[in-house]
Symmetry: C2
Subunit: 620 residues, 2 copies
Amino acid sequence: MSTTTDRARTLSTREMAELARQLRVDSVRAADAAGSGHPTSSMSAADLMAVLMARHFRYDVDRPEHPGNDRFVLSKGHASPLLYSTLKAVGAISDPELLTFRKFGSRLEGHPTPQRLPWVETATGSLGQGFPVAVGIALSGKRLEFGDYRVWAVCGDSELAEGSVWEAAEQAGFEHLDNLTLIADINRLGQRGPTRHGHDLDAYARRFHAFGWHTVKVDGHDLEDIDSAFDEAASTTGVPTVILARTFKGRGVAAVEDKEGKHGKPLPDADEAIEELGGRREDIHVTPPAPPAVRRSHTPHRATVELPRYERGDEVATRNAFGEALTALGTARGDVVALDGEVGDSTRAGFFAKEHPERYFECYIAEQQMVANAVGLAARGWVPFATSFAAFLTRAHDFVRMAAVSGSDINLCGSHAGVAIGEDGPSQMGLEDLAMFRAVHGSTVLYPCDANQTARLVAELADRRGIGYLRTSRGESPVLYGPDEAFPVGGSKVLRSGPDDRLTVVAAGVTVPEALAAADTLAEEGVAVRVVDLYSVKPVDRETLRRAADETGCLLTVEDHHEEGGIGDAVLDAFADGRDCPRFARLAVRIMPGSGSPAEMLRAAEIDAAAIVETARRLI
Amino acid sequence: MSTTTDRARTLSTREMAELARQLRVDSVRAADAAGSGHPTSSMSAADLMAVLMARHFRYDVDRPEHPGNDRFVLSKGHASPLLYSTLKAVGAISDPELLTFRKFGSRLEGHPTPQRLPWVETATGSLGQGFPVAVGIALSGKRLEFGDYRVWAVCGDSELAEGSVWEAAEQAGFEHLDNLTLIADINRLGQRGPTRHGHDLDAYARRFHAFGWHTVKVDGHDLEDIDSAFDEAASTTGVPTVILARTFKGRGVAAVEDKEGKHGKPLPDADEAIEELGGRREDIHVTPPAPPAVRRSHTPHRATVELPRYERGDEVATRNAFGEALTALGTARGDVVALDGEVGDSTRAGFFAKEHPERYFECYIAEQQMVANAVGLAARGWVPFATSFAAFLTRAHDFVRMAAVSGSDINLCGSHAGVAIGEDGPSQMGLEDLAMFRAVHGSTVLYPCDANQTARLVAELADRRGIGYLRTSRGESPVLYGPDEAFPVGGSKVLRSGPDDRLTVVAAGVTVPEALAAADTLAEEGVAVRVVDLYSVKPVDRETLRRAADETGCLLTVEDHHEEGGIGDAVLDAFADGRDCPRFARLAVRIMPGSGSPAEMLRAAEIDAAAIVETARRLI
């Protein structure tokens, strides 16, 4: 068969069967060349993929950025041999490149990532994440772009046990995402053995139907049956469609087909398997149907941001400043979108919702799907800010981790940080968030102490690459800075400084006013201490910290966070180059806090002004 | 009404109505005294609670540890005023104590926790977690205890958006937990406004039914209706039951009933509200039905553990040693249970499954429910070890955080740590796990480098309180220690040491052999360096690290983890007391890794022997 350059709809069923055969053979070859990988998980879905590419997936391979292109997500990322074999069949990669699978330096990693391959929308490999991100992309298509592209995701049956899948199913059903098709490759076998429901397609159909989906059951190895199902999905309106395909893992090779213990390893005898699959033949190329000739249907406006301005000395909660700044950002920039996990009243994302309802995504209490939506929206060029309590963003840790693998540019804001929230108690206190976000590759972690600083940092994040995190506080705090002061990422502010400083107190957020109060008390005792506001926790301002260390000889960090992984650790990063390190001590939350007033909680955790004074006296 | 000391079944409907009225009044009073809290969320469920306590919940208040007691979990933890009002009604706390709600030092925190109250099974307040833990408790009752206690959980409707709820529903349905009743307080209003499905009980019924549950719809303010539903739940066999109760938030007070904007705050006029509810009357006490007079039906055996022994010089993966040691532990101790997220072949938890299938819990790919099951099992006295890839334990971060709030004693093992896994690529590489687990309050974090050390540390964890974490590796590594060597938590091993050491290399896990190789290379160059195996990452061996610092003057940490929050930061913790700090430098994973062989990945991340040698030369 030669390359078809016009509509691929002309492919006969026999030709599609040839394509499927080649995808299986190439999956076997790729894993064999690598000495590892998941060929059997690829073989179960080869027929689904062949029909999709030949007849339904509208895509210009040479222009992955084409706004009319359909979008594809391989949620079962371990079936990467199938994806790469498909990329070969559509002419995106060569046969020699296919055989670099999993080798050092190859674009064809064990699991696909958009950092290396322009045809990949999002990194997968942590199960139950690709489908949720596909929902985010479909949301963009439906609510923001008004394009008519379709989103197709292929998932496995094992991953349907992940709760995140049902958060995604719920959001898609509720939002009537009829531009979304989920293709579930029900091959009945997971890594360790049979799945809960085996080949009981009805078990899955009941679940998706209950969540508001149209369901179609097919024999996943019957090309005509699959073709009809995809037609049905594309023509269904008002609800998303799931194709539940009954398949066999390792389909086509008796030594592995439908057998346990064959997950995640090359076939025992690749040559024999290829022979059994019909042998290698002349390579087939397939051209997917062409996308409609649409322009990008949205050209977001962009003007200068007029950030809110606060008067020095006023008392304003940083969460309020965040909400107001984000709203202003949304007014100036049409590409800024906001998402919240049904706590918008508290995070103040609700301010944005009121002003820009068309760009606000209520994700209800489903933090994983909230982050997945953000990743999907970012993949379509939007600049998302997703918010919840800092404590509850831990719920989405794996999604944030994978967003970094994707190279996704998303911003998160965690409110209600630390023991300073007071009466609500430890379940609501973000005390691990700095550690979590600092350890994410390439992240930016900001923790403002006043309203003007918060507003500036929100604007900074909008232009920053990678995962951005802003930590805000529940209670009011004094406005310390003027509205025109700049706060570059990677900087800090020296709030007290003199030639006789004998110690530097490094604080951020709610501990900044405590540090200032402590410095005043110590000054009355004749002890001069420097105070640094470390609003940029990552990257950290090495230069200022080193100068403080040189000039004062001792650093004391104080933070409303557990003692591991937070500000104390961030500060020491400035000295991790083998040069002299200053003496240092840290104040952090070492207790399991309870309920009480904010002041009582800061006292109990020994991170208030009194604790700073006491520790400073001991250190000097 | 006076206290009933015999079966409370004798309470009339009118008396139950009185009880419900009191629960509402006391909820209003508690929040009013606190000046914060969630009275309206309490009022919607007051009738459900009154009927449950008066007629269905079999419990000896004076003996919360009674093995025959039913178990209650308030999944909507913010409705704590209702729980505390109920505790008053059953005589567990006094009226003056009720009014200490949310005050500093009170046992009655903003959200309930078992650390303070013996009648609370698990800490709640992060929504969508209490119900999953209730499933874990019901699993214990059904599969391990064979008692006939019933588990009752009350959840809100907002939290049904959490994917974790559907992981729990799936596990309970699949395991036929007919000892479990979920009472869903469908009051239609979340924090920010209406929920997705409002009062559409059928929407929820369809979902639970699809997941294998018996569903009962009731008017949640009709006491007779509720009573019948609870009877139906208790008599349903083979499947769990969910009671879907149509309720109104703020029920009974017109100023707030079924109104938006009334979440999480005291009533505007408490006195007026109490009057509207019928006023304060003489306090009612209610005695729940007595539990059956059962003994603890399981007395786990306990013998000396015969750990596996490995020959020095052999090559053994630490994940294998983990699986073998855990199996041996299970043989010696009948209270040890194992759970895995359908990757038991890889984590080697499968070894335990083969030997002790009755104490093995397959949780499929649902890491949140896996940890919830562990917390539920620990609440019933078992010693759980839950396993997945280190990378995928991030999925359960919020559950681990809340387990610490509960004071739960659970152990987790994360396999496939770091870039050393090689070809599978970054989605499968645990590179944030040390940061995540170190920042959990009261946690223990262990990272063995060889098989004998792994076996010993597994045994150490079994006897340890709080959250225990063990990090294992995929590939084989040389056995460095003899089988009789002890590895106390909080210790370390000095593997190379001499009077002329000019630098200390601190390594753990896969970087220990790299550090030894580097030390050998440097020794050939005439440079003596000390090597410390920091197998206990938290708590850290301050004494050995300080001595190394004093004697060698410079520390170099090397770890297969991102540079934030891991071993480098753990080591510096030993110097955070204002004493002199040594010069230090760190080698850690600073790149976004791809695929390649383990050796290529260690090289690319610059954490191999060559990188250590090069850095050491620069530092000396």
